[in-house]
C-alpha cells in the first residue's frame, strides 16, 4: 500500500468529527426550512422577489409555477398501464494523453419497455469511436474530458430521440423518454470554443425539438440529488424585497448547506411529488430561449420537481427534470410521475427505475472492452505498418487500471 496509514488515521478521525457536526447542525436547520416552506405561499411579493433575483443573473434557484410551492401531489392512479418507456444512458473512454493511441469512445445504451404489453423489452447499443484527426484535435489541441462529456450527453439525447420517434409511430401509448441525469448541457468555464459549444447546443436543442414535436414525456432522472434551488427560493422568500440584492450577493450556502432532498424527505409522503419549479440558472438560458415546436408559447426551459419514489416509510427522494412543454401538460406529468414510481418498485433497495438501470448496464464499458478497442486499433495500425509506441508511463499505470463509468453529477 502506498499511502501513509498513520497520517490518514488522524485525518479520518478529524473528518469524521466534522461531518458528524455538520449533519447534526443541518438536522437542526431542517425544521426551519420546513417552517419556511409552510408559509412561503403566503409570502407577499414572492413573484417579484424571484423575478428580481432572476434578473440579477447571479442567483440560481427554483422559480414557482402555477403550482403552489408547498403543494404535494399523490401518486396518480392512471397513466402507467399503457406507457412505453425509453431509457438511455451513456459511458465513454476518455482519451489518454500518455497513450500512443489517441481516441475516445462513446457507448450509448438504450432500453425500451412497453409496460403492460407482455412483450419482451429490447435493447439498443450504439458505439461511436472518435479516432479521426478532426475528432481528437479540437481547436488545435487534444480533446478534453469536459468536451467528451458534452459530446456524450448530446449523443444520448440524439439516441433517445431516434428511439422515441420510432416507438411513437408504432403505438398510441404515452412515450416516456428518460435520460439518466440532468437534461441540459452545462458548459461554464470549461475552455471549449464557442464554435464547438454552439454546434453541440444546436444538436442538443434540435433533438429536444423533435421530442416536443411528438409530445414525448422527456425527463432527466437525477438520483440522490444534491441541489438546493428550492431552499434558495425559501431563503429568498424570507427576506424583504429591498434586501434581495444583498441576499444575492451573499454567497454563503443557505440553511447551512442543507439540500432540497433533506427537506423533501420530510415533506413528501410515499409516492408523492412536489410542485413543479422552473430552474433559474445561467445554463438554462439557451433552453428558455428555445421555443418548443407544436407547443404554443412554450419553451424547452428546464423545470424540476422532487419525487418520493418509495412507497414505504423510508423516503427516497429524486429530482426529475422536464422541459416546460412537458411541465405544462398534466397528463404527461402524471404519466411520468406514475411510471417513475412504479419502475422504481422492481429494484428493491436501490429504487432506481428498472429501465434506467438496464440502460446503464448496457452502456457501461468494461475494463476488457477498452483493451479490445485498443487491440483492434493496434492491429489496424499494424496493417499500415505503424507500430504504436506505448509510453512507459502508461505501461506502468496500465496494469490494474480500472475505467469507471462516467462520473455524473447527481
Amino acid at each position: 500500500m502506498s499511502i501513509n496509514i498513520q497520517d490518514l488515521t488522524s485525518q479520518i478521525h478529524d473528518a469524521g468529527a466534522a461531518i458528524a457536526g455538520r449533519i447534526s447542525s443541518q438536522g437542526k436547520l431542517i425544521p426551519a426550512a420546513l417552517a419556511q416552506l409552510n408559509v412561503v405561499d403566503q409570502v407577499k411579493d414572492l413573484h417579484e422577489k424571484v423575478e428580481k433575483a432572476a434578473a440579477s443573473k447571479s442567483w440560481t434557484g427554483a422559480k414557482p409555477t402555477r403550482e403552489p410551492v408547498a403543494a404535494t401531489y399523490p401518486l396518480p392512479t392512471i397513466g402507467q398501464e399503457q406507457a412505453t418507456v425509453i431509457a438511455v444512458d451513456g459511458s465513454q473512454i476518455y482519451p489518454d494523453k500518455h497513450s500512443a493511441l489517441q481516441y475516445y469512445l462513446i457507448n450509448i445504451g438504450a432500453f425500451i419497455i412497453q409496460i403492460g404489453s407482455g412483450k419482451a423489452p429490447s435493447v439498443v447499443k450504439t458505439t461511436v469511436l472518435g479516432a479521426g484527426e478532426s475528432d481528437v484535435i479540437v481547436d488545435g489541441r487534444m480533446i478534453t474530458v469536459p468536451l467528451v462529456n458534452l459530446r456524450r450527453t448530446v449523443a444520448e439525447m440524439e439516441g433517445l430521440t431516434e428511439l422515441s420517434l420510432d416507438v411513437e409511430t408504432s403505438t398510441q401509448a404515452t412515450v416516456i423518454s428518460l435520460i439518466d441525469g440532468p437534461i441540459a448541457l452545462r458548459t461554464q468555464g470549461e475552455g471549449i470554443s464557442k464554435r464547438e459549444t454552439d454546434h453541440l447546443y444546436n444538436r442538443h436543442l434540435k433533438a429536444i425539438d423533435r421530442l416536443a414535436e411528438c409530445n414525448c414525456a422527456l425527463a432527466g432522472y437525477v438520483d440522490q440529488p444534491g441541489g438546493s434551488s428550492v431552499l434558495n427560493l425559501l431563503w429568498l422568500s424570507s427576506f424583504e424585497l429591498d434586501e434581495i440584492d444583498a441576499v444575492i450577493e451573499d454567497n454563503t450556502p443557505v440553511f447551512g448547506g442543507l439540500s432540497d432532498r433533506a427537506v423533501f424527505q420530510k415533506h413528501l409522503g410515499p409516492g408523492e411529488r412536489s410542485a413543479i419549479f422552473e430552474t433559474v440558472s445561467g445554463w438554462n438560458i439557451p433552453y428558455q430561449q428555445r421555443r418548443a415546436p407544436e407547443h404554443p408559447n412554450t419553451t424547452h426551459s428546464i423545470h424540476i420537481f422532487y419525487l418520493n419514489v418509495s412507497l414505504n416509510d423510508s423516503p427516497v427522494i429524486v429530482r426529475v427534470e422536464i422541459p416546460e412543454w412537458v411541465a405544462n401538460v398534466p397528463t404527461l406529468v402524471d404519466a411520468l410521475h406514475a411510471t417513475l414510481v412504479s419502475q422504481s418498485q422492481y429494484t428493491a433497495g436501490s429504487h432506481y427505475p428498472y429501465a434506467l438501470a438496464r440502460a446503464d448496464g448496457e452502456a457501461v464499458i468494461q475494463t476488457q472492452d477498452r483493451q479490445v478497442v485498443e487491440n483492434m486499433l493496434t492491429r489496424e495500425l499494424l496493417k499500415h505498418n505503424i507500430v504504436p509506441n506505448k509510453s512507459a508511463k502508461l505501461a506502468m499505470k496500465g496494469k490494474a487500471r480500472r475505467y469507471q463509468r462516467k462520473g455524473k453529477r447527481r
Binding site: 432500453f111 419482451a120 422492481y346 429494484t347 438496464r358 476488457q368 483493451q371
Partner: protein, 196 residues
C-alpha cells in the same frame, strides 16, 4: 475480425489455467468440458484447455428484482434475454505449436485479452490421444474434476474412430491413477460406460 468460433477474451491467466469473459446468450456459448485454445508465446503457439467453470457474475439488478414481489412479465422476459457477462474458467491441458500438439502445461501463460476460440476436432483428437490430460484434470483442485472428466471424455471420444476402445483405455488409465480410491473410480467408470 471476429470469426464464428471466437468465444471470448482472456481475463486472467496462469500456466495452469486461465479465465475469459464473454456474454450470454450466444449460440456458440461455451460448454462445460469443451476444448478451447488461446494464443501463447506471441502467437507462435496455442494453449489448449477445457472449460471447467462458467460463472454468471454477480449482478445487483437481478438481486434487486429477486427481492421484489410480483415482477411484471416484461421484466422477466427482459432478464431472460439480457446479455449477462459471464466468466469462464479453463484448465490448461496442453499446447500446440504448428501442428504438433503436446500434452502438459505450456511454457508461458496466455496474455490477457487474447482471443479464445473453440478447438477443431483434429486438435482435440491430437491432444486426447495422450492420456496425460486425464492426469491434469484429476489433479486440478479448483475444478469439479470427476464431472469435468466425464464431460471432457465425452468430447474426446466424439472425435475417436473407435470410441469404445478409447474409453476402455481411458478407464484403465484412470484406474491406474486413482485405483486406491475405488468408490470414486467406480463412480467415474460407470459414468463413462454410459457414454458408450
Amino acid at each position: 475480425m471476429t470469426t464464428a468460433i471466437q468465444i471470448g477474451q482472456l481475463l486472467q491467466s496462469s500456466i495452469r489455467g486461465f479465465s475469459f469473459g464473454c456474454a450470454v446468450p450466444k449460440p456458440e456459448m461455451p460448454h462445460f468440458g469443451a476444448f478451447v485454445k488461446v494464443p501463447i508465446l506471441n502467437g507462435t503457439a496455442q494453449a489448449i484447455g477445457t472449460i471447467y467453470d462458467i460463472v454468471l457474475e454477480e449482478d445487483d439488478l437481478v438481486r434487486q428484482i429477486v427481492a421484489t414481489p410480483e415482477t411484471p412479465a416484461e421484466i422477466i422476459l427482459d432478464q431472460r434475454q439480457r446479455q449477462m457477462p459471464i466468466e469462464v474458467s479453463v484448465l490448461t491441458l496442453g499446447y500446440m505449436q504448428g501442428t504438433t500438439v503436446k500434452s502438459g502445461l505450456p511454457p508461458q501463460p496466455p496474455l490477457t485479452l487474447d482471443t479464445i476460440r473453440l478447438c477443431e476436432s483434429t486438435e482435440i483428437a491430437a491432444l486426447t490421444n495422450d492420456f496425460n490430460f486425464l492426469r491434469l484434470i484429476m489433479q486440478a483442485s479448483e475444478a469439479p474434476t470427476d464431472e469435468l472428466l466425464v464431460r471432457v471424455l465425452e468430447h474426446a471420444v466424439s472425435v475417436q474412430s473407435n470410441p469404445s476402445q478409447y474409453l476402455r483405455f481411458a478407464g484403465q488409465y484412470l484406474a491406474q491413477l486413482i485405483g486406491n480410491d475405488f468408490q470414486r473410480l467406480d463412480t467415474i467408470l460407470r459414468r463413462l460406460e454410459s457414454l458408450l
